[in-house]
C-alpha cells in the first residue's frame, strides 16, 4: 500500500477550502441582477384555497412578481413526481395524488407552498408575503396515521378516499403462518419508529437563471443528484428539455437523503427566472427546513417472531403502517417497501417471512429517504425482536444471535435478498472483545453502588446498499436505472480529471476517488482532480445516496481506468515500436516485456495527443474513456454495535458510557474517512434513539419547528466511539467495496434501546427515550417491583 493508495488514511484534499471559508455553497452564489424569492406557506394543515388576493402585496416596495399555482398551470408546468411505482396486493398501482409545486386549490400540510413572492431583497419579499390575502376554508386535518385511517377521516387526496397510498406485501404468507403454527414460543412487539427531520446543517437553497440569448436555464441547487434533478425537471415537470437546462450542485452542506428529492422551491426558482427575466434566489431558513424538507421514518409496526423449542427462529410476521405525509416525495414509496421489508431477515437464518405495509397520507410534510431509508426501520424491528426473544427465553442475547446467524454464503433470504458474503460471528466476537463485555457485570455493580442503572445492548445489523443493479430495481418499480457513470480524462501532460456522477456533500469523494486513480494509474494524488455536481461537465449520473458512491461510483471509475490503460497500451505499443500484447502497465509505466524500454504514464498521454507515432486509421488520438457501471447485486455491509448506557433513575437521564462498532464494509479505500462516516451515522442513530422526534399536534401544526424544540445531538450528548473493522470483500463489484455511509444510523437505534431496556428490566420504552420517558419507565419498574 502506498501512502496515498487504496487503504491509506489520506488527509482530505477538499478540506483546504472548507477550513479557510472558501467553500462555495449555493447560498454563496450570487448572480448579477438577482432577485429574491420568499415562499408564502400554508399556516393550515388542510384547507381549500378560496381566493388569493395579491393586489396589495404587488404594489409594495421592491416587489417584482407574485406567482401562484394558477401561473404554473397556465405555463403547463407539471407537478412533482414520485419515481418509484409500488403495486397493491391486488396488483393495482399505488394511488399518487397530484403534487403541484405551488398549491392549486388546496393545501395539505403546514408549510405547503401557496405562492412565491419575488422582490429586490429578501426582506421585501417577506414583507410582501404578509400582505398577500389568502382566503382559506379550513378542513379537518389528519396529522397522524391513526387519524388518517379512522372512519370518516378527512380525505387528503381524492384519488385515495381512505388515505391509503398502497397496501403492499412481501414474502410467503402461507409458509409464515405455517411456521407460527408450529412455534414453541412467539415473541411479539409493538414498535414506533419515530419521525425525524434530517437537518443537514446547510439549509436548502436554489438560484434559478435564464439566458434569453441561448434559451438555457441554469439551476444552482443543494442537490445530492443534479442529473436526476435535471431529468425530472425536464422530462416530467417540463421546465425545459435537458440540453437547455443545466443543473449545478456546488459544495453541498450535508444531505442525508433530504437533498435527493426534487422540491417545489428549486422548480419554482428556475421557472420564475425566465418569467421575471432575472436570476431568482431562494434560501431556506431553519424553520422552513423543518416544515418543508422531506422527513424520515414514521412507522408504526406490530411484529412477531416464531421460535422453536431450541430458540431457533422459524418465522417473522410484520405489519407496518408507514406515514408518507401529504404528498409522495421523489422516492418515498420505495422506502417502506423495497428498502425495508427485504432487510427484515437481518443477519439471521429465517425460513419464512411475511410483511404487510400500509402506506398512509397524512396532513404532514412529505416523508422520504433519510440516512438508511427503510433499513434502520427494518433493523429496529428485527434487532428489538431478537433481543426480546432472547430475554424471554432467558438466553444470552449474543449467544442467541450467534445461534441464528447466517453462516453459509451465498444465502437466499425469503425476502428477495441474496446475501453474497459475510462473517457475522467475526464481527460479534471482535465487538464483544472491544466492548469488554465480560466485565460488564462489574461495571453494572459499580453503577448500582452510585444509585445508577447500567445496561448493555447489541445491534447486529445488515443493510443492502450500493443500490443497485438497474434490472433488479426496475423489476421492483424504480423509474430509473441505478448504475453510475465515470469519465476519465487524461490530459496531454498526464494529469487526470475524473468526471463522476456521484456527488460529494461531505463524503470526501475528491480524496477517495483520487486515491483509486492514483493507485491504479501510478500517478501522484495531486495530479488527479475529481469533477462532480455539474450537468454541463458530467454527462450523466445517478448521484449519491444509499451508500452507493464507493461500490457503484468508484467501480465505474475503475472500469474507465481499465479502458484508459488498455488504450494506453495501444499508444505505448506504437511509441515503443512493440506489439500491444507485449506491453505491461505497472506503477505508472508502460514497458515492453523483457526489455528496458518503457514510457511513463504522462509520456504515453502526450503520445496519445500528439499522435505522431500512429495514424488516425490505426488508432484514434486522445486519451479519454467513459464507463457506465451497473453492479450485479446489492452489497451487504453488516456489523455489530454494542452500546452501554448508565441511567440516572432520579432524573431519567441516559448517558452513553461506551460505544463499540465493528463493521464489515469489505474493502476500505480510506479508513479515516470510513470511520468518520461511522461516527456520523452513530450520532444520527443515537439522535433517533435518545433525542430527536418530529412532533405534530392534532391540528397538524409542527411543534418541533426549530432547534428550540427539536433536539439535535450535540457534542456533550455523545461519547467517543470505538470503531473496529472486519472484512469480507464484496464479490459483486470490481473493488470489493460494500459501502459505509448509513451503517451507523442503521445500527445505532436498537443498540441504544436494547441497552436502556436491559438497564430498566422491561421493554416498555419508545424512541426517543428522552429523560422524561426514561423517568416514567423507571417509575413503572419501581411500581412493578413494589407490587411484587
Amino acid at each position: 500500500m502506498s501512502a496515498t493508495g487504496i487503504g491509506a488514511p489520506v488527509r482530505r484534499t477538499e478540506d483546504f477550502r472548507f477550513i479557510t471559508g472558501k467553500g462555495q455553497y449555493t447560498d454563496d452564489i450570487n448572480r448579477a441582477g438577482q432577485a429574491h424569492a420568499y415562499f408564502l406557506r400554508s399556516p393550515h394543515a388542510h384547507a381549500d384555497i378560496v381566493k388569493i388576493d395579491t393586489s396589495k402585496a404587488k404594489a409594495m416596495d421592491g416587489v417584482i412578481a407574485i406567482l401562484t399555482g394558477d401561473d404554473l398551470a397556465a405555463d403547463k408546468i407539471g407537478g412533482l413526481i414520485c419515481g418509484w411505482m409500488i403495486h397493491n396486493k391486488d396488483g393495482s398501482p399505488m394511488r399518487a395524488g397530484g403534487h403541484p409545486a405551488l398549491a392549486q386549490g388546496k393545501v395539505r400540510y403546514v408549510g405547503d407552498h401557496v405562492a412565491v413572492i419575488i422582490a429586490e431583497t429578501y426582506q421585501q419579499a417577506k414583507d410582501a408575503a404578509e400582505a398577500v390575502d389568502v382566503t382559506y376554508k379550513t378542513l379537518p386535518a389528519a396529522a397522524d396515521i391513526d387519524s388518517a385511517l379512522k372512519k370518516g377521516a378527512p380525505v387528503i387526496h381524492d384519488v385515495a378516499p381512505d388515505n391509503t397510498v398502497f397496501n403492499w406485501h412481501l414474502g410467503d404468507k402461507a409458509a409464515t403462518d405455517a411456521a407460527f403454527a408450529k412455534a414453541k414460543h412467539v415473541t411479539k412487539l409493538d414498535l414506533i419508529n419515530n419521525r425525524l427531520v434530517p437537518n443537514p446543517m446547510e439549509p436548502r437553497a436554489a438560484v434559478g437563471d435564464f439566458d434569453a440569448g441561448t434559451g438555457v436555464f441554469t439551476l444552482y441547487t443543494t442537490s445530492q443528484n443534479p442529473h436526476v434533478a435535471r431529468l425530472v425537471l425536464s422530462a416530467f415537470i417540463g421546465i425545459a428539455p435537458e440540453h437547455k437546462l443545466r443543473v449545478i450542485a456546488p459544495d453541498v452542506g450535508g444531505g442525508f437523503g433530504s437533498k435527493i428529492f426534487i422540491y417545489a422551491e428549486e422548480t419554482v426558482c428556475v421557472w420564475a427566472a425566465k418569467k421575471v427575466g432575472r436570476p431568482v434566489k431562494w434560501t431556506s431558513d431553519r424553520t422552513e427546513a423543518f416544515l418543508s424538507d422531506a422527513h424520515g421514518r414514521d412507522h408504526v409496526t406490530h411484529a412477531e417472531m416464531a421460535l422453536d423449542d431450541k430458540g431457533r427462529i422459524l418465522g417473522l410476521r410484520v405489519n407496518t403502517k408507514a406515514n408518507l405525509g401529504a404528498y409522495l416525495s421523489t422516492f418515498s414509496s420505495s422506502v417502506p417497501t423495497y428498502l425495508y421489508a427485504p432487510l427484515l431477515s437481518g443477519q439471521y437464518n429465517i425460513p419464512a417471512i411475511y410483511c404487510e405495509v400500509d402506506a398512509v397520507y397524512t396532513n404532514t410534510a412529505p416523508v422520504d429517504a433519510y440516512r438508511g431509508a427503510g433499513r434502520p426501520e427494518a433493523t429496529f424491528v428485527i434487532e428489538r425482536l431478537v433481543e426480546v426473544a432472547a430475554r424471554e427465553r432467558g438466553e444470552d442475547p449474543a449467544l442467541f444471535r450467534r445461534k441464528n446467524f447466517v453462516t453459509q454464503f451465498p444465502h437466499q433470504t425469503p425476502v428477495i435478498m441474496a446475501y453474497d458474503v459475510g462473517n457475522y460471528s467475526a464481527s460479534l466476537d471482535k465487538a464483544m472483545d472491544m466492548a469488554d463485555v465480560k466485565n460488564f457485570g462489574k461495571r453494572k455493580k459499580e453503577s448500582e453502588r452510585h444509585g445508577k442503572l447500567r445496561g448493555l445492548g447489541y445491534s447486529a445489523y445488515i443493510e443492502a446498499c450500493g443500490i443497485a443493479p438497474s434490472q433488479a430495481v426496475g423489476s421492483l418499480g424504480a423509474g430509473v436505472g441505478l448504475w453510475e457513470s465515470a469519465e476519465v480524462r487524461v490530459n496531454p501532460v498526464g494529469t487526470v480529471e475524473v468526471l463522476t456522477g456521484s456527488h460529494s456533500h461531505g463524503q470526501g469523494h475528491e480524496t477517495t476517488f483520487a486515491q483509486l486513480v492514483s493507485d491504479r494509474l501510478g500517478i501522484p494524488l495531486d495530479q488527479v482532480s475529481i469533477v462532480h455536481g455539474d450537468t454541463d461537465k458530467v454527462q450523466f449520473g445517478m448521484g449519491t445516496y444509499g451508500s452507493r458512491s464507493g461500490a457503484v461510483g468508484m467501480s465505474a471509475i475503475a472500469q474507465a481506468i481499465d479502458k484508459v490503460i488498455a488504450k494506453g497500451k495501444k499508444v505505448a505499443a506504437y511509441a515503443l515500436e512493440a506489439s500491444e500484447g507485449d506491453i505491461d502497465f505497472k506503477d505508472g509505466r508502460f514497458s515492453v516485456k523483457g526489455t528496458d524500454k518503457s514510457l511513463a504514464f504522462g509520456e504515453v498521454a502526450l503520445q496519445a495527443y500528439i499522435a505522431h507515432k500512429f495514424s488516425g486509421q490505426q488508432l484514434e488520438p486522445g486519451l479519454k474513456e467513459t464507463a457506465f457501471y451497473d453492479p450485479t447485486n446489492f452489497t451487504f455491509p453488516a456489523g455489530v454495535h454494542i452500546c452501554e448506557v448508565e441511567i440516572d433513575p432520579d432524573t431519567g437521564v441516559t448517558r452513553i458510557d461506551r460505544w463499540t462498532a465493528v463493521d464489515d464494509f469489505g474493502v476500505v479505500i480510506n479508513p479515516m474517512i470510513v470511520e468518520g462516516q461511522v461516527h456520523g451515522g452513530i450520532a444520527q442513530g443515537v439522535g433517533q434513539a435518545l433525542l430527536e422526534g418530529a412532533h405534530y399536534n392534532k391540528d397538524g401544526q409542527l411543534v418541533t419547528a426549530s432547534y428550540m424544540d427539536y433536539t439535535m445531538p450535540r457534542a456533550d450528548d455523545l461519547p467517543s466511539f470505538a470503531v473496529g473493522m472486519t472484512s469480507t470483500p464484496c464479490p459483486s463489484n470490481p473493488l470489493g467495496i460494500k459501502g459505509c455511509g448509513e451503517a451507523g444510523a442503521i445500527a445505532a437505534p436498537p443498540a441504544v434501546i436494547n441497552a436502556i431496556t436491559d438497564a430498566l428490566g422491561h421493554e416498555n420504552i419508545s424512541m426517543p427515550a428522552t429523560p422524561q420517558r426514561v423517568w416514567q419507565a423507571v417509575q413503572q419498574s419501581q411500581r412493578k417491583l413494589a407490587a411484587e
Partner: protein, 268 residues
C-alpha cells in the same frame, strides 16, 4: 425582521428619553440574545430599537460591603469569569457559566435577561434566591416584587435597569436541568442561605415564571441539608407542560434539583 428606527444613546438619561419618546413601541437592545431571535421570527416588532451597548456606566462588578453590585450591561461571561463574583458568590458565577453557550455568554447581559424575564431564564432564579435588588434609573425594586409573570416585570414605561445588587450569602448554589433541545432551564433551582434566611427559587417550571418554594425554605431553615427536603413535594398544578416535560415530571425534577443544589451549596 421588521424595519425599525435604530438609536444609539450614550447615557442612561438619553436612553430613557428615547424610550419615553417611542411610547410603547420602543425596545432596549442589550445583548440581544433573546430579543434579536424574536425579532428575526417577526414575533417582536419594535418601532424603535434603543441600543444600550454604548451607554456609559452600565457595566462593572463591584463588592461594596456585603453586597455585590453588577452593572446591567455586564455580560454573562464576565460574571462567570469575575474573580470578585467567584469569591463572593461562587454559585452565581457558576450559574452565569451555564447560561446558553460560550458565544451567547459573550453577548448576553444580566440586565437583559432579567428585564425579559423569560420563564426559562437562569438569572431570575438567582435574583429571587439571593433576595437581590434590581436598580433602575428611577428606583430600587426588590426581586420579590420584580418578577410579576411570564415575560412580565415590575418595570414601568421608560424604566431601565442599571444594575443588580446581590446580598452575599453564606451558601448558595444553582442546579439546572436543561431542556434537551433549547438547553434553556426546564427546571432550575437556586438555593441561598444568608443568616437564618433561606431562599429556594425555581425557574423553568412555572407557567408564571420564577417562583419561591416556602415549604422547602422552611424545611431548610430548620436544617440546611438535602435530607431536610425528603418527603416534600411540589404540586404539578400550575407548572409548565410541553413535549419535553409534563407538569408531573417538572414537579419531580424540582425536588431532585433542589436537593442537588443544597448539596452543591454545602460543597458535597
Amino acid at each position: 425582521m421588521y424595519a425599525f428606527n435604530y438609536q444609539r444613546p450614550k447615557t442612561v438619561r438619553q436612553a430613557a428619553g428615547l424610550l419615553a419618546k417611542a411610547g410603547g413601541d420602543g425596545k432596549l437592545l442589550a445583548g440581544g440574545q433573546t430579543l434579536l431571535p424574536t425579532m428575526k421570527q417577526r414575533l417582536a416588532s419594535p418601532a424603535m430599537l434603543i441600543d444600550l451597548n454604548q451607554v456609559d456606566g452600565m457595566g462593572g462588578i463591584e463588592l461594596k460591603g456585603r453586597n455585590l453590585h453588577i452593572g446591567a450591561m455586564t455580560k454573562h461571561a464576565d460574571v462567570a469569569n469575575s474573580h470578585i463574583v467567584k469569591t463572593a458568590i461562587p454559585g452565581l458565577a457558576a450559574l452565569a457559566e451555564g447560561i446558553g453557550d460560550p458565544a451567547v455568554r459573550n453577548r448576553g447581559t444580566i440586565g437583559g435577561s432579567i428585564a425579559n424575564n423569560d420563564p426559562a431564564a437562569d438569572y431570575p432564579a438567582a435574583c429571587l434566591g439571593l433576595g437581590a435588588t434590581i436598580v433602575t434609573n428611577k428606583r430600587k425594586i426588590p426581586a420579590d416584587e420584580f418578577f410579576t409573570g411570564m415575560f412580565d416585570t415590575a418595570l414601568e414605561d421608560g424604566e431601565i435597569i442599571t444594575k443588580v445588587i446581590f446580598p452575599v450569602p453564606q451558601k448558595a448554589a444553582y442546579e439546572k436541568f436543561p431542556n434537551p433541545a433549547s438547553r434553556y432551564a426546564m427546571v432550575g433551582v437556586f438555593v441561598g442561605k444568608k443568616g437564618s434566611d433561606v431562599r429556594v427559587a425555581v425557574t423553568g417550571a412555572g407557567a408564571n415564571g420564577v417562583f419561591r418554594l416556602p415549604e422547602f425554605e422552611a424545611a431548610l431553615k430548620t436544617r440546611f441539608n438535602a435530607k431536610s427536603l425528603d418527603g416534600l413535594s411540589v404540586p404539578a398544578d400550575g407548572l409548565n407542560g410541553d413535549i419535553h416535560a409534563s407538569p408531573d415530571y417538572r414537579a419531580h425534577l424540582i425536588g431532585v434539583m433542589a436537593k442537588r443544589a443544597v448539596n452543591k451549596a454545602l460543597g458535597k
